[in-house]
């Protein structure tokens, strides 16, 4: 039964079948998703938000620190000279700071929940350390000692048996085992880990389900993969990324300018009030100039509080979106670099094409029907357990309705396995192969394999393959396929070639569309393959990639990356093998597969826990989304100021120069309500934008000019118009508060 299962299903290597569907455009709707904000989350984050009012914490967001200082100042003023207006402004200024802290706390809160789950996995276990172990040594040659896992050093050898927890990150040096890695990947299906090759890496905290393995610890104490994951998702030591630093400089500059514009206004205001000495004092302006409450309100409304409040939340949420996709970025810098990537190196196998070549058609030579070829091909492949062989059987069944025949079904058949020397496989049938007593056909031998080998076999058995076979073979090679010639030999007759099986790489569904999107985003895709240039070219054309690197060695890959970087381009790639490590380290964005070796994971700056190479495309999109969200909210924040001026300037000065009331185009009901409305709007807009900051601005792959046009319309023009409406609405409500109107 087991064998039957194996022949009918084509197991996808590395779980790429799921990845292919996850990456198709049909499911793009949730691409920008990151979960909506639920009110409970806001309330849960409130204590953290309050804690962040501490100026020592707040100094990292200078814009909000200024708001806090302003709020403290107005509190003093409100205590000394209480009025409804003064207290209303003061309360809303404090709320502004609180809302900003809330944004950050909510963003961090999501990571904290994840960190808690990870911590549970980080149980302290007792490891069995082997001293004196050498590869292949019998058990008598080494001693077992029990040591607590945190005491393990780099290079220690440990034994883990079924049911045991792997005590630290390392490589399997002996044995094979199925391991439950759900603690870190969330994937419940166990994975196989074995010594040697590219699946040798194991992660501390994961559980061995069967068999026993000997692991060499590669981590330093306290620096395990889980430790790093916890600090990443918690955003504990989040470093500001290069673009974030640049943006902070710009925001600081704007803050200084507005601070200056407000402070230097005072002597001018005193002069103006003095000139119009007859004008009555208001809550906004007296003989001593603009009141402290109003000056602070103006300042807070002008400085870029919206983006200042949300900037760190945007950064944390960006990392969080990656984590939700099971990608761990070792630095925010790498995420940002992903948005800038110019060249994407993609491995052909598993990323662009489904794991292996598959039979696509049977091409008979003259005088033979396709059915006959299919029949012979199927017979010869019954015992062929290679993916190619299985695909021949599947094709024969699907296209020609040939019932599957199990090897056991034909007791008199002898299967000839494929060897590197013969380069063909097949079957020898005795005269009564089916065991039904019919020996009419005599003994029959069928072979399929590489063209040259099978042709030689035919000639050796007295046959003369027609030229047509050669033509078919060349045609298939010409389109990048792999030809397998099928031939038979009946007793007493010369052998003859029946036809050719066309094996081809199957490009995953939706890849062409994906690459078109990439091109629109200005990203060049390069396919990396070990195939010969002709085959590579054909697949590259079918998949729609921009370029390919055929017969690629790890050195070629590294050279290609360096060449691209010389031209000023940023390169992203995925890799899992130890020989990928140099290229992963060289690439600007190197995504290591979790199934890969420790060396690969160490060299890359991201790890994909799902080991899905197509995820690189999503990583690029998340990187872009992160930058777009920052840019859009900065634009929105600055555009907002226009409306606030129209609210506050007439409110401040129309008392002394009535003509300035012409600027009160919103017709706000009173100077006090105008100023308070602007302050309230400024605070509320922060809360209103928290979901956007966490989710990120919607991103659709498109050319830069299109993206700019759209975002400028929404966040630039929208940023100018929305506050006019918002402030007016707030004014309509608060004008009923006694003391405001």
């Amino acid at each position: 039964m087991k064998e039957k299962d194996m022949t009918t299903s084509t197991p996808a290597p590395h779980g790429t079948a799921d990845a292919a569907t996850a990456g198709t455009p049909a499911t793009q709707g949730n691409r920008a998703g990151g979960g909506l904000l639920d009110p409970g989350q806001l309330i849960r984050s409130l204590p953290d938000a309050l804690r962040k009012l501490d100026p020592r914490t707040l100094w990292r967001t200078p814009v909000m620190l200024i708001v806090e200082i302003g709020a403290a100042f107005t509190t003093v003023l409100a205590v000394l000279d209480p009025s409804v207006f003064a207290w209303a402004i003061t309360v809303w200024l404090w709320l502004t700071v609180l809302f900003a802290n809330l944004a950050e706390a909510v963003a961090e809160g999501r990571g904290k929940a994840q960190a808690a789950t990870l911590r549970r996995a980080k149980k302290d276990t007792i490891a069995t350390r082997l001293t004196g172990w050498t590869p292949g040594a019998p058990a008598s040659r080494y001693q077992e000692t029990a040591v607590p896992a945190p005491d393990l050093q780099q290079g220690d050898i440990v034994l883990v048996e079924a049911g045991g927890i792997i005590p630290g990150d390392g490589d399997v040096v002996e044995g094979i085992a199925s391991v439950d890695e759900s603690a870190i990947t969330g994937e419940s299906a166990p994975v196989i880990r074995e010594s040697g090759g590219d699946r040798s890496a194991v992660t501390g905290g994961t559980k061995v389900l069967s068999d026993r393995i000997i692991v060499k610890i590669t981590q330093k104490p306290g620096e395990s993969f889980i430790d790093r994951m916890i600090s990443l998702v918690e955003g504990a030591n989040r470093q500001k990324t290069p673009n974030e630093i640049a943006l902070n400089i710009l925001l600081a500059t704007l803050t200084i300018i507005f601070l200056l514009a407000v402070v230097t206004l005072q002597p001018l205001a005193i002069f103006s009030k003095d000139f119009q000495a007859a004008a009555a004092d208001t809550q906004a302006i007296t003989d001593e100039g603009v009141t402290g409450i109003v000056l602070v309100s103006l300042l807070v409304c002008l400085i870029p509080t919206t983006i200042g409040a949300l900037l760190s939340a945007i950064g944390i949420a960006g990392m969080d979106r990656l984590v939700q996709r099971n990608v761990l970025a070792m630095s925010g810098r790498a995420v940002e670099a992903a948005g800038d990537v110019n060249t994407l190196l993609l491995d052909k196998t598993g990323t662009i094409t489904l794991g292996n070549r598959q039979a696509a058609e049977f091409l008979p030579v003259e005088g033979v029907t396709a059915d006959e070829v299919a029949d012979a091909a199927q017979l010869s492949s019954l015992a062929d357990e290679t993916p190619e062989g299985r695909s021949v059987v599947v094709l024969a069944k699907n296209e020609f309705g040939l019932r599957e025949r199990e090897p056991g079904f034909m007791p008199h058949a002898t299967f000839v396995p494929f060897t590197a020397q013969t380069r063909m496989s097949g079957v020898d049938l005795t005269p009564d192969a089916t065991g039904d007593g019919d020996t009419a056909g005599g003994a029959r031998r069928i072979r399929k394999g590489a063209a040259a080998s099978v042709m030689k076999w035919v000639r050796d058995l007295g046959g003369h393959p027609t030229e047509q076979v050669g033509q078919l073979v060349d045609e298939i090679s010409g389109v990048g396929g792999t030809p397998l010639v099928v031939a038979e030999h009946l007793d007493g007759q010369p052998a003859r070639a029946l036809g050719v099986i066309h094996l081809k790489d199957v490009v995953k569904a939706g890849m062409r569309e994906r690459f078109d999107e990439m091109r629109r985003m200005g990203i060049r895709t390069v396919m990396i393959t070990g195939d010969n240039p002709r085959t590579a070219k054909a697949i590259a054309e079918e998949a729609g990639v921009d370029d390919f690197l055929a017969e690629a060695t790890p050195e070629d890959k590294l050279a290609l990356i360096k060449r691209e970087q010389e031209g000023g381009r940023l390169v992203a790639m995925t890799g899992d093998g130890t020989n990928d490590a140099p290229a992963l380290a060289q690439a600007d964005v190197g995504v290591a597969m979790n199934t890969g070796t420790s060396a690969a994971k160490e060299a890359g700056n991201m790890v994909d826990l799902d080991s899905d190479p197509t995820k690189l495309i999503e990583i690029v999109e998340i990187g872009k989304q992160l930058l777009i969200t920052r840019g859009a909210l900065t634009t929105f924040s600055i555009a907002n100021d226009i409306a606030k001026y129209f609210a506050i300037i007439p409110a401040m000065f129309a008392g002394i120069y009535p003509s300035l009331d012409a600027l009160n185009i919103m017709r706000l009901s009173s100077p006090e309500s105008a100023i308070l409305s602007a302050v309230v709007f400024n605070a509320i807009v922060i809360v209103a934008l928290i979901p956007l900051a966490l989710r990120g601005v919607r991103y659709r792959p498109a050319a830069a000019s299109k993206l700019l046009g759209r975002n400028l319309l929404v966040y630039g023009l929208g940023g100018i118009i929305v506050p006019f409406i918002g402030i007016k609405l707030i004014d309509l409500l608060i004008q009923f508060i006694p003391g405001i109107s």
Partner: protein, 551 residues
Amino acid sequence: MSTTTAGVIFVLSLAAALAAVHRPFGDYLYRVVSGTRHLKIERGLYRLVGVNPATEQSWGVYARAVLAFSAVSVLFLYAFLRLQHHLWLSLGLDPVVTHEAWNTAVSFVTNTNWQWYSGESTLGHLVQMSGLAVQNFVSAAVGIAVAVALVRGFARSRTGELGNFWVDLTRITVRVLLPISVLGAVVLMLGGVVQNLSAGTEITTLTGGSQTITGGPVASQEVIKELGTNGGGFYNVNSAHPFENPTTWTNWLEIFLLLVIPFSLPRVFGRMVGQVRQGYAIVAVMAILALASITLTNVFELSGHGTVPQAVGAAMEGKEARFDVSNSATFAAATTLTSTGAVNSFHDSYTSLGGMMPMVNMMFGEVAPGGVGAGLYGLLVLALITVFVAGLMVGRTPEYVGKKIGAREIQFASLYFLVTPVLVLIGTAAAFATGNNSTALNVGPHGLSEVLYAFTSASNNNGSAFAGITVSTPWWNTALGLCMLLGRFLPIIFVLALAGSLARQHPVPASEGTLPTHRPLFVGMVVGVTVILVALTFLPALALGPLAEGL
């Protein structure tokens, strides 16, 4: 022909002439700054000064050369002014006192040409010719040289070198400013501008009184005054004086001269970075802002809002009858859009909103098209800030003509951008806080405008005066001198540092994902960013000045 029609034709003919000239002239400027051959006279000058024209300078060395040259210029001019009574052709005038000499020395070296004095009654011919006029040439050349160095920062990659300041300075002076000035002076003389070394002619007027008609080397100074966007007039009333600007067509020519280099420099930028369309985008931003401003100034002046203009039929106070309202308004806009500061009418007498326009023009940071060189580098800094925000919105680390705009670049661009608003706002507030605003002729909003205008003009190195304020006091001379000095050289240092950081970078190849910076959308965005940033910075101050008065 109505006044409006005449005004429109005047502006359109100027625009057409500039559109025709900016390409070939820009190409010529490009050849001047990028050629490798040296003229004989230039080689002689290099030998004289001891400069090897083949060597290149890093941004630091370039900046030090600019500063050293300017420091020597200030000291030389200061000494010249203090010692003028010992000099030939001094016309018997007294030496200039310390704070006045400091102000004038700084003023001319910084290409501001703010004048607290009346030229004809304060300075002798030798000081005018070999002191002030020389600075008119070299301060203009310094501005262009710095702009060229910034453009080299964009054009070059993986190098620390930005060219040779001495070579740039010499070539621009010898091959561009001098020949055009000679030619222009002849043309202006044909138009009636005087050129002599007369100490003044006594004449008897029709009523029998006696009047001194002052002469002097006016034409030779007039051309470079406009061409180098200097603006320092030979006479107190500047281009309103019939000996400086006798007719409508000399008025046209003077406006053309003050706009021609600033509008041609974007072409040099486009040529040097190898993408002429980038130059067109920059020139488009300048043209849109300039046309909008000229139109608004004309509209405000022609509509004659206000009691007196309505009573007399036009806002003619402070304007020359031979230029009428429109050509005065156009001159006022052009002189403040560039950092020239020459005037042919009194901005103080403009309608409230009409008088606000020159102020707003300067508050743009002198970028539309700005002073020679200074306009281009100022606008490139604004384009860079725009690219930064816009670039983020397309999901990439922002790039401008193949250079990444990272923290370092934004830092220098921000510092550049900070300088003038800081100087204007602090200066104005200080004047009011210390009571020094009392020398203003007016009180109330107009008095506030007079003070605000003075600091705006000095800090942006424009040099035009709103008038109506006495600034020959030690406080004003010192404060405005500081504004001019810091407003000129701090930005230059930041621009050169920016250039150095750009030149070191790898170029980034453009792709579909790169924000195109030559399309109308981007041009519109730079215009928007410039207007919005200025509005946000200065609106409160403007509200208490021209807006309170004019709305």
